[in-house]
Every structure is written in structure tokens, then in C-alpha cells.
């Protein structure tokens, strides 16, 4: 015989247990440069900038310099 629940847990108790399971929304802000949504305190994945400077290396033009 497998272990079994001792009693039926009502829907209200199930709901109370799950009241903390909601997934929180990540903190999204609008990029000041290109207005697209980005994570707060992270570089914008669209324009590659954070606080006005480039934070993501562009595909390098390797032929020059």
C-alpha cells in the first residue's frame, strides 16, 4: 500500500496554499533612447545602450584598423 493523504484538503485550502505561487512581473522600463521596453538597470537589447553609452559590442568591422 502506498502512502496516502490522511484527509481531503478543500479547494479553499488549496487556493490558500497557491496564493504565493504567482510569478512576479520583471521590472520593465522604457529605454530612454529608443523607447522599447527593457529590464531596469540593464542595457537595452534593441539599441545596445545603457545610460547613454554603448554596452553591447556591435558586430565588429574587422577589416579596418
Amino acid at each position: 500500500m502506498p502512502p496516502l493523504p490522511k484527509r481531503k484538503y478543500p479547494k479553499s485550502r488549496q487556493g490558500k496554499r497557491r496564493s504565493h505561487l504567482a510569478i512576479k512581473m520583471p521590472h520593465i522600463v522604457d529605454c530612454p533612447r529608443c523607447k522599447s521596453p527593457r529590464l531596469a538597470h540593464h542595457a537595452c537589447p534593441i539599441c545596445g545602450t545603457y545610460r547613454g553609452r554603448e554596452a553591447i559590442t556591435m558586430p565588429a568591422p574587422e577589416l579596418e584598423s
Binding site: 556591435m58 558586430p59 577589416l63
Partner: protein, 195 residues
């Protein structure tokens, strides 16, 4: 309990982890900006900054101490000849972390770590646009000019204007500078989303 013990294990044995640190620090000093997980970036920052401080000192003993950690002697030379002098008047804080989008695949927090005076290569000035402008101004004069330029700047797009019909060239003449800038911005964006 593992209380008040500094440092991350990063899922590796000690020797593996040390190797990883030395690889990351060497590459960071070589390329001046690298992209890695936030945890690794935060781990190597103090190590890399200590190497740069050695570079600021500049004496032989400091150089030998740097050699003990950095894998590449050329990178040590760079630290002492370039980065050290650049950071001469900066009392630490040579590196900057910037958070990036979580990694696709495992959602790991990613970060770029760079020297604070790192200047990104300016958005590629698009050589074919530069050559297109004089061509548009004097289409006849530019024609003999184009073959000479081609070996110097062999880009895929450059061949395009030559193959274009006369109307297309005339169309480019009317393109204003602001439109060109907008085009560039769009192309850069396209490059990002393709990554």
C-alpha cells in the same frame, strides 16, 4: 555551514575554476570588453583590477607577479604598456559591469564587463555609403574611381551600386544625409535582432 565564506564555486573543481578565472581575466584585458554571466563577471572583477594595479606600478617585480596569473605574455605587456598608463590617475575602479538580457537557453543573468575607458567601435560608418555620396555627385567621374576603391574596402554591399541602373543611382542622389543616418540606425537594429 558555509557562512561568511567569500567567492562562488561556479560548479567547478578548484583547479578548473582557477583556470577559468585566469582565462577570463586574460581575455578581458586583451579585448577590454567581454560578455559573460553576471556571476563570473563579478568574480573576476577584483582579480582583473589587481592585475591592472600591477600594470600601473610598472616595475619588474609587478610584471612578474602579473605573469603568475595572466596566461598570455602579450597581454601582460599590453597591461603594462597601455592599460597601466591609461589608468595612472585612477585610484581603482577600472572596470564596469553592465547587465544584459538573460541568456537564451538557460536564462542565466548575463553581463558585460569592460574597462571604464573602453570606447566601442563607432557604429560602422558603412563604407559603401561613403563611396556612394561622391558617386551620386558626379556619377561619370566616380566610375573609374570605383575599381580602385574596391580592394581597399571589400564589402558585400559595395558592389551593389555598380550593378544598379541609372535610375537607382539618381535616386540615391536625392537621398538626404538624415535619411542615410536613419538607414544606418535601422540596419544596426536589424543586426541586433538577428543575433
Amino acid at each position: 555551514m558555509r557562512h561568511r565564506v567569500a567567492g562562488r564555486h561556479l560548479g567547478r573543481e578548484t583547479s578548473h575554476r582557477l583556470s577559468l578565472y585566469r582565462n577570463l581575466v586574460t581575455d578581458l584585458l586583451r579585448y577590454e570588453r567581454i560578455t559573460t554571466t553576471e556571476a563570473k563577471a563579478k568574480e573576476i572583477r577584483p582579480m582583473a583590477e589587481k592585475i591592472i594595479t600591477l600594470g600601473r606600478r610598472g616595475d619588474l617585480h609587478a610584471r612578474r607577479q602579473a605573469m603568475r596569473f595572466v596566461y598570455d605574455t602579450a597581454v601582460v605587456k599590453k597591461v603594462f604598456d597601455e592599460i597601466g598608463p591609461r589608468m595612472k590617475d585612477r585610484p581603482g575602479g577600472y572596470l564596469r559591469l553592465t547587465g544584459l538580457e538573460p541568456r537564451k537557453g538557460d536564462g542565466a543573468r548575463m553581463s558585460s564587463i569592460e574597462l571604464v575607458d573602453f570606447v566601442d567601435a563607432p557604429p560602422t560608418p558603412r563604407p559603401q555609403r561613403v563611396t556612394a555620396a561622391p558617386k551620386a555627385a558626379a556619377p561619370v567621374a566616380a566610375a573609374p574611381d570605383a575599381p580602385a576603391l574596391e580592394p581597399a574596402e571589400p564589402t558585400v554591399d559595395e558592389a551593389e551600386p555598380e550593378g544598379e541602373s541609372a535610375e537607382a543611382v539618381a535616386e540615391e542622389t536625392t537621398e538626404s544625409a538624415s535619411e542615410l543616418a536613419q538607414d544606418d540606425a535601422e540596419e544596426r537594429e536589424a543586426g541586433h535582432s538577428a543575433e
